[in-house]
C-alpha cells in the first residue's frame, strides 16, 4: 500500500558517468532528516530556495562535499517539503548518502513515487505524471524529448481535441432522442458516422504510435543469429567501436545471451548475441538454445549473419528459417567481405527474400549501411519523427478500448440500430478517452445540447 505520510528519498539523476548526482528527499520530515547528515559550512538557518555549500557526514564519517537546497511545500515538485543534495558523480557517493538518509528516518522511494505525490497533490495531471515516469525511464534522447512533449501536455491537447469532437457527436445523438417532437434530424450533422470515423482515424494513429513510443523509451531489440564463427562477436565489436560510444553491460543478462547497448541517431539499439539455435540433446546446451529462442521471439529485428568466405550450409538455412518463423523481421548480413567471396559468387544470396547487406566486421566496411538499414526498419512509422507518441501501455489500452467502442457505434449507425444503444458505445468511448485526460462527462453533454440546439417549450 502506498503511504504518503512517509518521507522518501532517492537518487534523482540517472545512474551513469555524470559529474554530479542529485539526491532528493520529499515529505514532512525532509528538512530535519537532511539536517541530520548535511552540515552547511557557513549558514546557521536554511532558507528555502537558497543553495548552501556543506558536507555530508554519516556520524563522524565524512562522505562528500555537496550543495544543499530546500524547497518548502507546496512550492516544490511534489507539493511537499523537498530537500535536494547535489553530490559528486559516480555510484559511491550517492549510494552512501542515500543509505545514510535511510538510517536517519527516510524511506527509499518506490519507482515513480515522487511523480505520484506530485499527482496526488494536484501539481501535475495524469498524462503529465506518466510523461515524467517515462522520462525517468527513457533510455534515449528522442525518448526524453517525447516524454518532455507529453509533459507539456501535447498528448492531452491532441486527445482533448478528439474528445471535444466526440462530445459534439454525442450531444447531437442525445438531442435527437431527448426532443423527439423537435424534428432535429434535419439539423444535425449530415453524417454522424463520418464524424465518428474521423475520430477513429486520429485515435488509431495515436494508438499505433505506441510501438514507436515503446522503442523510443525502451530501445529496439536486435537479435544477432548465425552459426559459430561467422563473426557475430566481431560484428558487435565493430559496431561498438565505429564511434566512441558508451558501452555498458546491461545487468541481468545471462551467460548465453550477451547484450550490448548502442545509440544510433537517437534510437537505443540493444544487441543480443545469441548462442545459436539448433536441435541438441545436450541438456546444458538445450537451456542456452531455449533462451536464444526466447530472445529471438521478443526481438524487434533479427540479424542473420553469414560467412562470405564459405558456401551456404544447411545450418545457415535452418537458422534463417527459424528467424523467419520466430521473428519475421529479418536482415541478412553477409560478413567477411574482406575475404574470398564464395557465397555471393555461388548466388546464395538469392535464397533469401530479404536484401542482403555485405559487411566486413574486420575492416568496418558496410557497417554504416547496416545501421542505417536497422534504423529505417525501426522507424516504420512517420509519427516517430514528429508528432505525439503514446508511450505507455495504459494509454494504449484506453485508446484501444475507445476505438473498439467507436467501431461498434459506427456499426450501429450503419445498421440503423437505436440511438439509445449507439449512445452506450459513444459514452464508453468518451470515458475511455477520459481515462487519459482525467476528465469526466458530467454536464458537458447537456451543456453542448443547449448550446447547439434551440430546445424546450
Amino acid at each position: 500500500m502506498f503511504r504518503f505520510e512517509d518521507t522518501i528519498c532517492a537518487v534523482a539523476t540517472a545512474i551513469g558517468n555524470s559529474g554530479i548526482n542529485i539526491i532528493r528527499i520529499s515529505g514532512k520530515e525532509a528538512l530535519p532528516v537532511a539536517l541530520k547528515i548535511f552540515r552547511p559550512l557557513k549558514a546557521k538557518a536554511i532558507k528555502p530556495r537558497y543553495m548552501y555549500l556543506g558536507d555530508v557526514y554519516n556520524g563522524d564519517e565524512f562522505i562528500d562535499r555537496v550543495l544543499g537546497v530546500f524547497f518548502k511545500g507546496p512550492y516544490s515538485y511534489t507539493g511537499e517539503d523537498i530537500f535536494e543534495i547535489h553530490c559528486h558523480g559516480g555510484i559511491y557517493s550517492s549510494q552512501k548518502i542515500v543509505e545514510t538518509l535511510i538510517s536517519n528516518g527516510a524511506r527509499p522511494a518506490e519507482a515513480g513515487e515522487f511523480s505520484r505525490r506530485a499527482f496526488l497533490n494536484g501539481k501535475i495531471d495524469l498524462s503529465q505524471a506518466e510523461g515524467i515516469a517515462d522520462q525517468i525511464g527513457a533510455l534515449s534522447e528522442k525518448g526524453a524529448r517525447n516524454a518532455a512533449l507529453q509533459m507539456r501536455g501535447s498528448l492531452s491537447n491532441e486527445i482533448s481535441e478528439e474528445q471535444k469532437k466526440l462530445t459534439d457527436v454525442i450531444a447531437q445523438v442525445e438531442a435527437i432522442v431527448e426532443y423527439p417532437e423537435e424534428n432535429l434530424e434535419d439539423q444535425v450533422s449530415d453524417d454522424l458516422t463520418a464524424d465518428v470515423k474521423d475520430i477513429v482515424k486520429t485515435l488509431s494513429r495515436l494508438k499505433d504510435s505506441y510501438k514507436s513510443g515503446k522503442i523510443l523509451k525502451e530501445g529496439a531489440r536486435i537479435a544477432i543469429l548465425g552459426r559459430p564463427n561467422v563473426g557475430k562477436s566481431s560484428l558487435l565489436n565493430s559496431i561498438l567501436n565505429t564511434e566512441r560510444v558508451i558501452v555498458s553491460d546491461i545487468p541481468g543478462t545471462t551467460r548465453d545471451v550477451v547484450t550490448e547497448y548502442y545509440i544510433y541517431r537517437g534510437i537505443p539499439l540493444i544487441f543480443s548475441d545469441t548462442a545459436g539455435i539448433r536441435e541438441t540433446k545436450d541438456i546444458i546446451e538445450r537451456i542456452g538454445v531455449d533462451r536464444s529462442r526466447a530472445v529471438l521471439k521478443e526481438a524487434d529485428i533479427a540479424l542473420l549473419l553469414l560467412d562470405s568466405s564459405e558456401e551456404l550450409t544447411r545450418e545457415d538455412m535452418d537458422i534463417y528459417n527459424d528467424a523467419v518463423s520466430e521473428n519475421g523481421n529479418v536482415i541478412v548480413v553477409i560478413n567477411k567481405t574482406d575475404l574470398e567471396n564464395k557465397l555471393v559468387h555461388a548466388g546464395a544470396e538469392h535464397m533469401f527474400s530479404e536484401d542482403c547487406i555485405e559487411i566486413s566486421a574486420k575492416n568496418g566496411a558496410g557497417i554504416d549501411r547496416l545501421l542505417e538499414t536497422i534504423y529505417n526498419k525501426v522507424i516504420t512509422d512517420a509519427s516517430m519523427e514528429e508528432g505525439t507518441i503514446i508511450t505507455n501501455s495504459r494509454q494504449e489500452y484506453a485508446l484501444l478500448t475507445a476505438i473498439d467502442s467507436l467501431n461498434e457505434a459506427i456499426n450501429g449507425f450503419e445498421n440503423n440500430i437505436g440511438f439509445d444503444l449507439i449512445s452506450i458505445d459513444l459514452h464508453d468511448a468518451w470515458n475511455s478517452i477520459g481515462e487519459i485526460t482525467g476528465e469526466t462527462l458530467d454536464e458537458k453533454i447537456i451543456d453542448r445540447i443547449f448550446e447547439k440546439f434551440c430546445l424546450g417549450k
Binding site: 494536484g122 439509445d420 482525467g438 434551440c454 424546450g456 417549450k457
Partner: protein, 616 residues
C-alpha cells in the same frame, strides 16, 4: 401571536401539488396519521403550466412513481384526453409516454383520491413557521394561529414561496394563475439557517380556441393503440382529441427584436435564474438568431373548456407585445387571449443542503420535495414527493431511509444530481442524465422498483400479483427462446433462406426488424399474452448484449458507490486534497466515494487521494 392546539400528527405535508400529493399519500397509506396543508383547496394537483404529463425522461419518472405504489400514473390514465408513446423509432431506452391531461378532471380525481384515503386529512392553511427543538422538527405553525404537533414534515411548496409574477413592466406578488403566494415560510427557513436561491420560470398565454383557425395548422393525434402509464391500468378505450402544430416566422421574430428592451429578462427586472429547458420565445430568438422559425403546439386545456395552451410561446414581454406577436402566427391571426403569458420568480433552497433521503442535513425530520429543491416539472416533483413521504415515515419508525441508486431509477439519478451537484437553474429530467439508460427503461420500471415498493409497504397485493405474473411469463419466454434451436421450417416461415451453424431462436430474434410476434407466428404458436409481456420479453432477448454491457458498467460504478464515507469527517485533515475539493467535500459531506466523485470541483486526482486515504 397566540397559537391554539391544532392537533398532533405523525406527518405534516405542506403543499398540495404533485410532490405534496405523493408524499401525503405515501405517509397515510403506510399507516401514519398525516395532514396535508395547502394554501388553496382548489389547488390540489394543479398544473399551472402545460396540460400534459410525461415526455422523454419524465414519462419514466411517472412509471417509477407508479411501480413504487404512487398515484400520478393512475390519475393520468383516468383523465387523459390524448396519449402517445414518443421515440418509438429510436430504441427501447428512450421511449417515453406523454399524455395530454384534462386539467380540471385531473384535479377533481386527485382531490377525491386524497379525500378517500384513510389516515389522511386535507386542510386549507398557510404554513408560516417550523418549530425545531434540539435539532428535530416538532411542530408547524399556521397563519391562522394553529400549532400542529408533528414528528416529521415534508415541505412541498412548489413555486409559491415569495412568488412574484412579471409581465413586461407589470409585476405583482402572486402565485401562479392568480393564486396567493406564501410570504412567511421563506423567512422561517432562512432563520433556521437554510441558503435560499431565487429561480424563475414562465408560462405561455392561454387563448380562446374559438378564435383559432385550425385549418392553417397540422393536427397531431394520439396513438391508436393506447399504452397506459400505470402497470395497473388495462384496456383503456377512449376518444382522444388532437393538438395542433404551427410555427413562428420572421415577422414574429422581428416584433420580438423590436421590443426586446421591454423584456424584463433583458432589462434586468428579473433576477431569478431561468431554465434552459423552457426558454421563453424571446430567449430563443436572441440565442438562435439564424433560426427562421420555431415550432409551437396548440394543446387543449380540457374537454369542457375552449381554452388552449400555446406550447413554445412562453414570454414575459408586455401584454400588448404578446398579443401582437401571437397574431403573426398562422392560425392565430385573430387570436383572443384568455390569460396572458408571464414569468414567475420564487424562492427555493440550495439542494446541497439535503441528504439523499431528501431529509435536510440540518434538521432531523424535515424533508423537502419538488420545486422547493430546485427542480422543475410535475413528474420531477411527484417522484421526490413519494421518496420524501416514504423516508419521513421511515424516519418516524427509526428505519434506514430508502435511497434509489443511479443504476436503479431516474428518480435516483434526479435526487443524486440535486443533492450532489446542486443546481443553478430549475432542474429538468433528461434521459441523457442517466448513465445506465438501457437498464432504466419505462417498460421495466416495475421490474426495477415493484419489489422495493412491496418491501416498503406501498404495493398492494393486486399490484404485486400482476408484477409476479408478468415477471414469471417474461422469464419463461427468455429461457425458452434461448434454449430452442431453430429448424428449417421455422426459418422458412420467417423468410430467412440462408443461415449457418446451430442457431437458437433467440439469435434470430436479435436480428433487426424481427419481432417476438413474428417469431411466435413462425413457431406456429398462439399468442395469448398481452403486449406488455411480449415487448418486455422481446427487449430482454433482443438487447441482451447491450444490457450486459451496462450491467458491467454498473458493477464498476457500484464499487465506488459501496465505499462509505464518514458523515462527520473534516476533509481539511487530508493534505493531499486540493483546497477546492476540501471545501466542497466539507460542504456536501458525501455519503460514499462514488457520490464524492460526482461533486463538481472534486477531480479524479482527489478521488484517488480519498481512495488511498480511506483504504488505510
Amino acid at each position: 401571536m397566540q397559537y391554539y392546539d391544532g392537533g398532533s400528527y405523525d406527518l405534516v405535508v405542506v403543499g398540495g401539488g404533485h410532490a405534496g400529493i405523493e408524499a401525503a399519500l405515501a405517509g397515510a397509506r403506510l399507516g401514519k396519521k398525516t395532514i396535508l396543508l395547502t394554501l388553496n383547496l382548489e389547488n390540489i394537483g394543479f398544473m399551472p403550466c402545460n396540460p400534459s404529463i410525461g415526455g422523454t425522461g419524465k414519462g419514466h419518472l411517472v412509471r417509477e412513481v407508479d411501480a413504487l405504489g404512487g398515484q400520478m400514473g393512475l390519475t393520468t390514465d383516468a383523465t387523459f384526453i390524448q396519449i402517445k408513446m414518443l421515440n418509438t423509432g429510436k430504441g427501447p431506452a428512450v421511449q417515453s409516454l406523454r399524455a395530454q391531461s384534462d386539467k380540471k378532471q385531473y384535479q377533481r380525481f386527485m382531490k377525491s383520491v386524497l379525500e378517500h384515503t384513510d389516515n389522511l386529512e386535507i386542510r386549507m392553511a398557510e404554513a408560516t413557521d417550523l418549530v425545531v427543538e434540539n435539532g428535530r422538527i416538532t411542530a408547524i405553525l399556521t397563519a391562522c394561529g394553529a400549532r400542529l404537533q408533528t414528528r416529521a414534515v415534508v415541505l412541498a411548496t412548489g413555486v409559491y414561496l415569495k412568488s412574484r409574477i412579471i409581465i413586461g413592466e407589470f409585476s405583482k406578488e402572486s402565485g401562479p394563475a392568480g393564486f396567493l403566494g406564501a410570504g412567511s415560510l421563506s423567512g422561517s427557513l432562512k432563520d433556521l439557517g437554510f441558503t435560499l436561491q431565487r429561480f424563475k420560470t414562465g408560462t405561455p398565454a392561454r387563448v380562446d380556441g374559438r378564435s383559432l383557425d385550425y385549418s392553417k395548422m397540422t393536427p397531431q393525434y394520439g396513438d391508436e393503440k393506447i399504452i397506459p402509464f400505470s402497470f395497473m391500468s388495462r384496456d383503456i378505450k377512449r376518444e382522444q382529441v388532437p393538438c395542433y402544430l404551427t410555427y413562428t416566422n420572421e415577422r414574429t421574430h422581428e416584433i420580438i427584436r423590436e421590443n426586446m428592451h421591454r423584456s424584463p429578462l433583458y432589462s434586468g427586472v428579473i433576477k431569478g435564474i431561468g431554465p434552459r429547458y423552457c426558454p421563453s420565445i424571446e430567449d430563443k430568438v436572441a440565442k438562435f438568431p439564424d433560426r427562421e422559425r420555431h415550432q409551437l403546439f396548440i394543446e387543449p386545456e380540457g374537454l369542457d373548456t375552449t381554452e388552449m395552451y400555446v406550447q413554445g410561446m412562453s414570454s414575459s414581454l408586455p401584454e400588448e407585445v404578446q398579443i401582437a406577436l401571437y397574431r403573426t402566427i398562422p392560425g392565430l391571426e385573430n387570436v383572443r387571449f384568455t390569460r396572458t403569458a408571464y414569468a414567475i420568480e420564487y424562492d427555493c433552497i440550495d439542494p446541497l443542503q439535503l441528504k439523499s433521503s431528501l431529509e435536510t442535513k440540518a434538521i432531523n425530520g424535515l424533508f423537502m420535495a419538488g420545486q422547493i429543491n430546485g427542480s422543475s416539472g410535475y413528474e420531477e416533483a411527484a417522484c421526490q414527493g413519494i421518496i420524501a413521504g416514504i423516508n419521513a415515515v421511515r424516519y418516524t419508525d427509526e428505519k434506514e431511509p430508502v435511497i434509489l441508486g443511479r443504476d436503479q431509477a431516474y428518480t435516483g439519478v434526479l435526487i443524486d444530481d440535486l443533492v450532489t451537484k446542486g443546481t443553478k437553474e430549475p432542474y429538468r429530467m433528461m434521459t441523457s442524465r442517466a448513465e445506465y439508460r438501457l437498464l432504466l427503461r419505462q417498460d421495466n420500471a416495475d421490474e426495477r422498483l415493484c419489489q422495493i415498493g412491496r418491501d416498503i409497504g406501498l404495493v398492494s397485493d393486486e399490484r404485486y400479483d400482476r408484477f409476479m405474473y408478468k415477471t414469471g411469463r417474461v422469464n419463461q419466454y427468455i429461457e425458452r427462446l434461448e434454449q430452442k434451436p431453430v429448424n428449417n421450417a421455422f426459418m422458412k416461415n420467417l423468410g430467412i433462406d440462408e443461415y449457418s451453424g446451430s442457431l437458437k431462436v433467440a439469435d434470430v430474434l436479435k436480428r433487426p426488424n424481427v419481432h417476438l410476434t413474428d417469431v411466435l407466428n413462425a413457431l406456429g404458436e398462439d399468442i395469448t399474452d398481452d403486449e406488455e409481456i411480449l415487448s418486455s420479453a422481446e427487449i430482454h432477448v433482443k438487447y441482451k448484449g447491450y444490457i450486459e454491457k451496462q450491467i458491467r458498467q454498473v458493477r464498476q460504478f457500484r464499487s465506488l458507490e459501496n465505499r462509505r464515507l464518514p458523515a462527520d469527517f473534516d476533509y481539511r485533515d487530508i493534505k493531499g486534497l486540493r483546497l477546492e475539493a476540501q471545501m466542497k467535500l466539507n460542504d456536501i459531506k458525501p455519503e460514499n466515494i462514488g457520490q464524492a466523485s460526482r461533486i463538481s470541483g472534486v477531480s479524479p486526482a482527489d478521488v484517488s487521494v480519498l481512495l488511498v486515504y480511506f483504504e488505510r
